[in-house]
């Protein structure tokens, strides 16, 4: 799943550590999401959506795996 998390975080001058504290996850999780190595859970995605005041689909884009 692709996402704009790094850009949105940078726009708000937040460090990974600060964003992690606000969302309630570890810094490692934020980093893994930004690097698209890990997809967040629905509650985490909703918390991000609320924080950035954007719909979930504007932060995350689902890429259908190609067969």
């Amino acid at each position: 799943m692709k996402n704009k998390l790094k850009v949105l975080r940078a726009e708000r001058n937040l460090t990974q550590e600060e964003l992690a504290d606000i969302i309630g996850v570890s810094r490692q999780t934020i980093n893994a999401i930004e690097k698209e190595k890990f997809d967040p859970s629905l509650p985490t995605a909703f918390r991000m959506s609320k924080l950035f005041n954007l719909p979930i689909e504007e932060i995350f884009t689902f890429d259908e795996p190609q067969n």
Binding site: D21, G24, V25, S26, Q28, T29, N31, A32, K37, F38, P40, S41, T44
Partner: protein, 130 residues
């Protein structure tokens, strides 16, 4: 969250230490301190069991309070450890049964294998998601 995690890790370390100490106490005590006294041995074993259960409960709390990625890392490490222990344990058992090897493995070998597998899986998974 970080403070809670630190607290839980500290608690887990203490319970693990207590469990290891009671293992040592039971083994050493039964042969060097209260030789042949079944009642004291039974008490030491119960103490060890209690410490073990405490360790499990704290570990459960730690996992439940972890975030989604930490849980995934833990789950993968535990799955690999369980799978490899089962497969390798059975392979060794079959090798022994068919007399292809002439040594008997102790329970401590299995515990060491599990510990090392879990540790290696945790390191590998943490590096994967770094």
């Amino acid at each position: 969250m970080k403070e809670l995690k630190k607290k839980r890790l500290k608690q887990l370390a203490l319970w693990t230490m207590a469990w290891l100490l009671t293992v040592m106490l039971t083994k050493y005590g039964a042969t060097h301190m209260w030789e042949g006294n079944t009642l004291i041995s039974l008490f030491a074993i119960l103490l060890n069991l209690g410490a073990g259960l405490g360790m499990i409960l704290i570990n459960r709390k730690l996992v439940n309070e972890s975030d989604e990625l930490e849980k995934k890392i833990q789950l993968e490490a535990m799955g690999i450890t369980l799978g490899l222990t089962l497969i390798v344990g059975l392979t060794i058992s079959l090798l022994d049964y068919t007399h292809l090897i002439d040594f008997h493995t102790e329970i401590s070998t299995l515990i060491t294998f599990m510990g090392l597998t879990y540790l290696a899986s945790m390191i590998f998974n943490n590096m994967k998601y770094r």
